[in-house]
C-alpha cells in the first residue's frame, strides 16, 4: 500500500535538456585481440570530448553489450557527473538498433553522434554547428574533410550547382597529410591511400560566408534530431555493416551532407598508436593504462617462412574461421 506521499511529487522543476545531445556508441565485448586497446581508445575519446567541448551539451553513451571493465569505467564516469545518460544493453542490438534508440530518444534538438573511437579537437562542435546553421536543409555535418563515395552526396552536389548564392569548387583542397591520417586510421596502406588521393578530389562549397566540403561520414556527425528521426527505423539484423543506409536515405531525401574544411575530429581505430599516446586529454590521463611492452609494435622477428605460410589464402581463411568461431563463442552469450 502507499503510505505517505511520494516526495518526488514536490519536485516542481526538472532540468531542461541541452540543445545538443552528444551520443556515443560503445561495443567492446572483451579486451583482447581486436579489442585489446579499445578501452584506452574509449577513454581517450571521452577525455578529448570533455576537454574540447566548452559548449553546453548532454552526453549520452549507449553501450551495446560491452564487457564488465567497460561498464565499470562508464558507470564511474556517470557517477562523477560527466555523463548525463548511460544506456546499457545486455545484448548487441546492432549499430542500426542502437541508432534507432539514440536518434528517437535523445532529448536534444541536435544530435552529435560519434563512434567511440573518435578524438575530438578544440572547435569541433562550434565549426560543425556553424555549417549546420548556415546551410539550408542540412542532413549531417562531419567534423573533418573526407572523400566519400559520390553516390551518397549527389543531392548536395546538385544543390550547390543550382544555388546561385553558393560557390562550388572542385580540386585537391585537403592536404595529403589530412587525407593520409584518416586512411591510416582505417588500416589503408600508404601506397593505396596515395593512389586514392591522386585519383580523387574534394568539392568545396561556400555559402553565406561559410565554407564546407561536400561529403560526410557516419562514424561522426552532427545532425538535427528531426532529420534523423525521419530516417529511422534502421534495419538491425546484423551488428554492423548496414550503416550506409543513413547516408543513402539522407541523400535520397535531398538533405545536404557536408564536412568542416579543417580536421576537427580524428578516427582513432582500435589502436591508439604512438602518435596518440601523448594526445589523450589531461582529464583522463590518470585513467589510461600505460601501453605495455611491445604491444602495437611490429613483430619483425617472426617474419620469414612461417609468415609466408600463414599468408597463404587457404591457411589464412582457416585461421580466420577459427578466430571468428572463438569470437562468436565469447560474445554469443551476450546476444
Amino acid at each position: 500500500m502507499r503510505v505517505g506521499q511520494n516526495p518526488a511529487k514536490s519536485i516542481e522543476h526538472v532540468p531542461e535538456p541541452a540543445r545538443v545531445t552528444v551520443a556515443l556508441l560503445t561495443y567492446i565485448p572483451f579486451l583482447s585481440g581486436y579489442y585489446a586497446e579499445s578501452l584506452e581508445v574509449l577513454k581517450t575519446c571521452l577525455g578529448s570530448l570533455w576537454e574540447n567541448t566548452p559548449q553546453p551539451y548532454d552526453l549520452m553513451v549507449f553501450d551495446n553489450a560491452s564487457c564488465s571493465e567497460v561498464h565499470t569505467y562508464l558507470q564511474q564516469a556517470q557517477e562523477q557527473g560527466q555523463m548525463q545518460y548511460l544506456v546499457l544493453s545486455d545484448k548487441n542490438i546492432g549499430k542500426g538498433g542502437a541508432w534507432n534508440l539514440i536518434f528517437q530518444g535523445a532529448p536534444g534538438e541536435i544530435i552529435a553522434y560519434a563512434d567511440s573511437d573518435v578524438y575530438f579537437y578544440s572547435g569541433w562542435l562550434e565549426k560543425s554547428m556553424e555549417i549546420l546553421e548556415a546551410f539550408p536543409h542540412v542532413g549531417m555535418v562531419s567534423s573533418r574533410p573526407l572523400r566519400t563515395p559520390q553516390v551518397y552526396y549527389t543531392s548536395t552536389l546538385e544543390w550547390a550547382q543550382k544555388e546561385p548564392e553558393a560557390t562550388l569548387e572542385k580540386g585537391q583542397f585537403q592536404s595529403w597529410e589530412v587525407f593520409k591520417e584518416h586512411n591510416d586510421s582505417l588500416g589503408v596502406s600508404e601506397e593505396t591511400a596515395r593512389q586514392w588521393f591522386q585519383e580523387s578530389h574534394d568539392w568545396r562549397v561556400e555559402y553565406h560566408d561559410c565554407t564546407a566540403y561536400i561529403g560526410a561520414a557516419h562514424f561522426q556527425f552532427v545532425a538535427p534530431k528531426s532529420v534523423l528521426q525521419a530516417m529511422a527505423p534502421f534495419k538491425m539484423d546484423r551488428p554492423m555493416g548496414q550503416v550506409r543506409s543513413l547516408d543513402q536515405k539522407l541523400n535520397e531525401a535531398g538533405y545536404l551532407r557536408l564536412t568542416t574544411s579543417e580536421p576537427l575530429v580524428k578516427h582513432l581505430g582500435n589502436r591508439l598508436g604512438e602518435s596518440h599516446l601523448g594526445e589523450s586529454a589531461p582529464s583522463t590521463t590518470d585513467n589510461i593504462p600505460q601501453q605495455g611492452g611491445n604491444r602495437g609494435a611490429p613483430l619483425r622477428s617472426r617474419r620469414g617462412a612461417i609468415r609466408r605460410l600463414f599468408n597463404l589464402p587457404p591457411v589464412r581463411r582457416s585461421l580466420l574461421w577459427l578466430y571468428d568461431q572463438i569470437f562468436r563463442l565469447y560474445y554469443s552469450s551476450r546476444t
Binding site: 518526488a8 581486436y34 544493453s89 596502406s189 563463442l329
Partner: protein, 378 residues
Amino acid sequence: MAVRPDISSLLFLQDLTQFSSLMRIGQNPAKMRGSPAYTPQRVGLASLTYVPDLEGYFRQARDVIDIHLASLRASLDQECDLCVFDNGSCPEILNFLQDRWRNGVIDWLFLSHHNLGKNGALNWIFSSMPNEYIGYSDSDVLFRKGWLEESLRIFDSFERVGMVSAQPVFFDFLRGQSQTAQRIAAYGSDASPKTGLRIELVKPPPEVVDEYCDGINASIEIRQQFHQTQLTVAVNPSRGARAVTSATDMQFMLSRQVARKLVPMPIAGALTARDAIEIPLGVETLGYWILSTEEPLVRHLGNAILDLDIPEVENYLSANLQTGQIQAPGFRTHPGPGGWKKNTQAALQRLIDRSPRLRRTFTRVYDWLFSLLYEERR
C-alpha cells in the same frame, strides 16, 4: 568523377605487410559475415525507477522494485524486451539495478544522472522502444500471470483501442471528460449489426474494489464511494471480449504507432497530476479508446509491502528474494534444442562460462590468432 571505392570493403583484401603506424589493426569481428544481431521482441516493457535514498517514503523501495521485476518476468509466457529507466536514483538502487541487468532480468538499463520527470522518461520510452507494443509500469506494480495476454486480447478485440491497463480502473483520471465510453456506445450503435459492440454498467466484486483501494491506501470515504461505483464496461460479443472504459498511467500498454504520436509530452514536474493525465488525454485526443481489463491482473504495491498480506509478495519474499535464484519464463536462457551445430556451440559456451581455465586457454588462442592474422602483417 571517379568514385573512390568503399574502403571497408577493400580493407580485407589489402596487402597489409607494409603498414607501419596504422590505427586500425585487423577487422572488427562484429563486421564478420553472418554475425547475428538482436531483433526486438514484439512486446517491449518499460519500468521507471526513482529512489533518491532508502529512507522514509523509500525505506522499502529496493524490495518493492525487486518484487515488481520478479513478478513481471514471472508473469510472462513470451519473450519480451524489458527496459528499466532510472531517473537518478541513489547508488544502492543503481547497484541493485545493475546486478539485475547483469543477471539478464533487465535487457536495457537507462541511467539518467538527474530526474527528467516521469513524462521526460516516458518521452524517451515512447520515442525509442523499437517494439510493436510498448508496455509501461511504475516500479511499484505487481504483475500476475495473464496480464499481457489479456491486454493484447483487448488490443485485438476493440478496433480503436489506444491504451490498455491490466486492472479495472475506478478512478476517473480525466475528471469526467473521458470520451471512450461515449464513443464506443456511438460506434456500437452505428455498427451494431456488424459488431454488436455495447456498453454495460457492472458492479465489480467487493474484493476487487478492496484490492484497488488497498493499493492506493484509500480513505474510508473513498473506499465507500468506490464500493458504490459501477464500472462502465465495453462488450464486443463477436470476439467475446470485455473491457472497462478507462485506463491509468500507473501501468498500461500502447501500440508503438500511438506511442510515437504522443511525444513529446509536456513536463510540468517530476511527478505531477497534470503530467499524469497527458497519456490518457493524448490517446483520446488522437481518437483512440482507453480501456482496462475487468479482472485485476496487476496490483499497485505502493511503498510499504512488508506488512502486506498478499500471497504473491509472501511467496516472492520467501522464495526468490532469500535465495536470489529466480527461475521464470522470460529470463535469459541458453539456446533451446537445435541442430548438432547449435547444441555443440551451446555446450562449448557453457563450458567456457563455467571454466576460467578453459576461458584463459581460449583467450590465449584468440590472442595468438589475432597476432598471427594481423600483428604479423603490420
